[in-house]
């Protein structure tokens, strides 16, 4: 029904690992106006950045830390299942790949925004998530020209 769809705010899960990935995610906040937005990252101290929005943490991991990666995957899965987002948006890195893979299983729509640091080629996480994310975004037109990613602007 049209009116029930409108009455319910879109639930967005915004996910990033720490450092520059999180800072870039914060710069996307204006896009989440009028949404029920939930944030997830690795640093508990980042809660203050997004308060009072719901906030979750998971263990930091990358492809070099196999054990942490398993724990991280489990925690991200729990967050996705708990939030049940309509849309998942991530600014990377490995955590974004994991969240998007898991979110696809429950029918969420997903977008991966590759870090602005990747000015010459897509990050490894972006390359891996390319065939799973509904939309893969690069922040550099030259990268969009030679990959399947699209350019729609940047955080700067």
């Amino acid at each position: 029904m049209q009116h029930t769809a409108n009455a319910k705010k879109k639930r967005v899960l915004a996910v990033a690992s720490g450092g520059g990935h999180w800072v870039q995610l914060l710069r996307l906040r204006p896009a989440f106006a009028n949404c029920d937005v939930h944030f997830a990252t690795v640093d508990a101290g980042a809660k203050a950045d997004v308060s009072p929005s719901p906030f979750y943490t998971f263990k930091d991991a990358n492809r070099d830390t196999k054990l942490s990666l398993i724990l991280s995957t489990f925690q991200i899965a729990m967050i996705v299942l708990r939030v049940r987002p309509d849309v998942v948006i991530s600014t990377g890195a490995a955590a974004g790949f994991l969240a998007i893979r898991i979110a696809k299983l429950i029918g969420a729509r997903t977008m991966f925004v590759d870090s602005i640091a990747n000015a010459n080629e897509l990050s490894l996480s972006a390359q891996l998530v390319a065939k799973h994310a509904d939309q893969l975004v690069t922040q550099w037109p030259s990268v969009a020209d030679k990959t399947q990613a699209t350019y729609i602007g940047s955080v700067l």
């Binding site: 203050a48 010459n120 940047s154």
Partner: protein
Amino acid sequence: MIFATVGTQLPFDRLFNSLDTWAETRSAQEIVAQTGTSEFQSSRMDVRRMIDAPSFRSLVKKADVLVAHAGMGSILTAIEYAKPVIIMPRRAEFGEHRNDHQMATAENLAHLSNLRVVYSAAMLEDALDEALNTRPVDIQHDQISQTHQSLLSGIQDFIFAEAQTPARAHHATLAGSV
């Protein structure tokens, strides 16, 4: 006050040693350094390994100049607070990172008005002297640029695009709640 940061994940002693050499002859300057996993120690500055997010932001706000590795977190924070920032990219050949992507970041962002890229101790020293002696007049407080606005609009379009295919979206939500 000078605030130097290299993130918290990888050591970057070359940057702090360069800063320390400069500080030797500039004893009046207060310097705070977030060194992360670097081994660097110095009596010439306030060395802290980790700084929590609120303290980090207040240090950035208070600083006259930031010195940082070419990490996006550091660069974006400098832009947000409209601070002059001197960045030194990490080099793979010195074991400072897995690859040279910070060189690419630095080259691609070198055009920003509040950003100076340095590759050596000597360049860092010159850039610090220059930054402290120049009153920044043309630094704009962070406003939403056209490219930033365009990204935000694109993301909003994506979030609300579902409205065009309500039946399929509704089905997906139901499937997800089983």
